[in-house]
Symmetry: D3
Subunit: 140 residues, 6 copies
């Protein structure tokens, strides 16, 4: 059977502050600039979830996109939407919410829920000019 | 000379919480739902600034769009971008930052700076599914 | 109080065939071209619902956009989405589903449900290159 | 019959230089900045053509959008697309191609061709951040 | 010579019904939900066609994008646009028109026509929130 | 550490003419069609710059996206924006400005400036319907 990748786009609106408590306030301000604003700022995030596998001969689906939406909404979107990423989200506890750290954290939450298909890419848009991609790879 | 309306689109990313201190916490939660989350959430806002006037015969412009950008960036965008709308912005002091209140507050800041052309519309997008328009009218 | 217009964008996916039973098959084919294909075609429609009124001093809202979404979804979107506009929709019975006829039919369904605010415009996108606007006016 | 406005979006890609020969080179450079670059620059323009009228009871159309496309393509788009607006276009002879001047020139070319419906607005996007609107009004 | 991938985006509007005649009506309704609506629904589809090869030293092209457009329009778009995918399309005979099955069918039609360049990806958007990718791979 | 790819989108507006002086005027006209218009045409180009590397444990960044923007603006965008690609740009001297040739030229300019992260893809959009991708590979 042909191997196809299906992608579902989902959205959430959240506040965050980029800040690493290991660094001094001065270093945080210098490294992160306006993203370190003490009272935070926010974004309309877009998350593209890509799942890969063979087409099921009976259904004609790799995986029901309605199910992808349901699972990702329950596991990730409902916990991030209309929240403050620095304080409100269990799976982000202790994580500095850069886009890079955020996409990796989402990967670990979503990845077990799409089997037997495989999660092959998460693309997280922070604005319409910036996005980050993660495919599960780590530096050795 | 022909009367033309020119529009410049600008963006800012901000955190906010919809909350009216006149109401109890319970009423705030009931009226505003997830928008009342105590630690806030955020958006990539888009502001479309429309200015109307006759075409200047010498320049072929109603008003230099570069100047519209410069004025609105200085007076509004630089004060809103990467900020928390509930606490960081002088011209929003004491204002519950709904889109409606926000667009009216921006109108009063921008309006004096585009003369002799006339500010004829502000359109504020909070997400790609919601926007509000203000043209300076008040209920009598 | 300032008068503001708020707009909520909603989507539905539907099949239709442009066909007027008053005309012969030949005339239908000539007038409507490929839009008259006997087995139909379809679109991802976008409906922008605009509601105007004074800002409520207590809530800071003209009308809760969540309520606009809820009402329009119940009255219109749920009846149009994943349907065939020629046969599946009660409020389109006997109507040739051009964009013009469709937007006027939606107006009459939605208009009573947004009071005391006023429905001031419906914009219906059939594709990203075509849209129609209706504001309730009739030719005298 | 209900009065509806229909809009067709069309595109063209063109080069231009903003320059007024009445002014000195120094003044042109000062007034127009980088838009005065001697060898020109260019844009992907988008033109939204809006036509208003009653719905025809037989066809369900205000005016066939396919006909709007055909007329505007023949009269305007084919003359502007992949052209240099300063030298290649008959109806722009002697006109400094600012967006304001361009939209007014297009109005006069298109306006006679959509009757008995009425041309009610042209919106010309120069970039995705700038657009100009013309509705046929002149300063008295 | 550098190896570059070029992509042309094309659109078509079509009706379809997701239904597998091998399954009972009850199972079809359960598996496909509203996508199984007996009278169909429809979409504005977007197809991104990616072709890869070395840049031709004389033309500076991998393959003329105008030719990609012409070939794909003739072989695929003209057969799908303003059609019902369940009954009107020769190369979809007997195929349940899920996005996955549709993109694979298009691959087999387009692939011979872009040589000596190689077709390397088809991306089919069913809505702006869903797309599927195929690169010609099959499960062994 | 996880390996992430970050992408920054930037824009420039430029004029160009597709023309190869090695070919006769007749051959140029035949091969390039309207893109060979002697006085040029133009585009709003979009350049997506993708950089890959491990997340820095201290900053949570692969590379500061603000720095990506700054470097690419200085080295590429400021030299292309509001310019004529056939005559105004030092790093395009002698190059026929097809999208393919343009993206490869940008690669060589940008590539040294993002180390120790790696430039992994440039995507150049000429219109919203066409784009080209380069990842540094050459035909052997």
């Amino acid at each position: 059977m042909p191997i196809v990748t299906i992608t579902r786009r989902l959205r959430f609106n959240a506040a965050h502050r980029i800040h690493n408590p290991v660094m001094s306030d001065e270093e945080n301000a210098r490294v992160y600039g306006k993203c370190n604003n003490p009272n935070g700022h926010g974004h309309n995030y877009t998350l593209d979830v890509s799942v890969t596998g063979p087409i099921d001969e009976r259904t004609g689906y790799v995986m029901d996109l309605g199910l992808v939406k349901q699972v990702v909404t329950r596991e990730v979107i409902d916990k991030l939407d209309h929240r403050n990423l620095n304080v409100d989200v269990d799976f982000l506890r202790g994580i500095n919410p850069t886009s890079e750290n955020l996409v990796v954290a989402c990967w670990h939450v979503i990845e077990p829920h799409v089997q037997p298909a495989r999660l092959t890419r998460l693309r997280l848009w922070e604005t319409e000019h910036n996005y980050v991609d993660y495919d599960g790879r780590n530096a050795s």
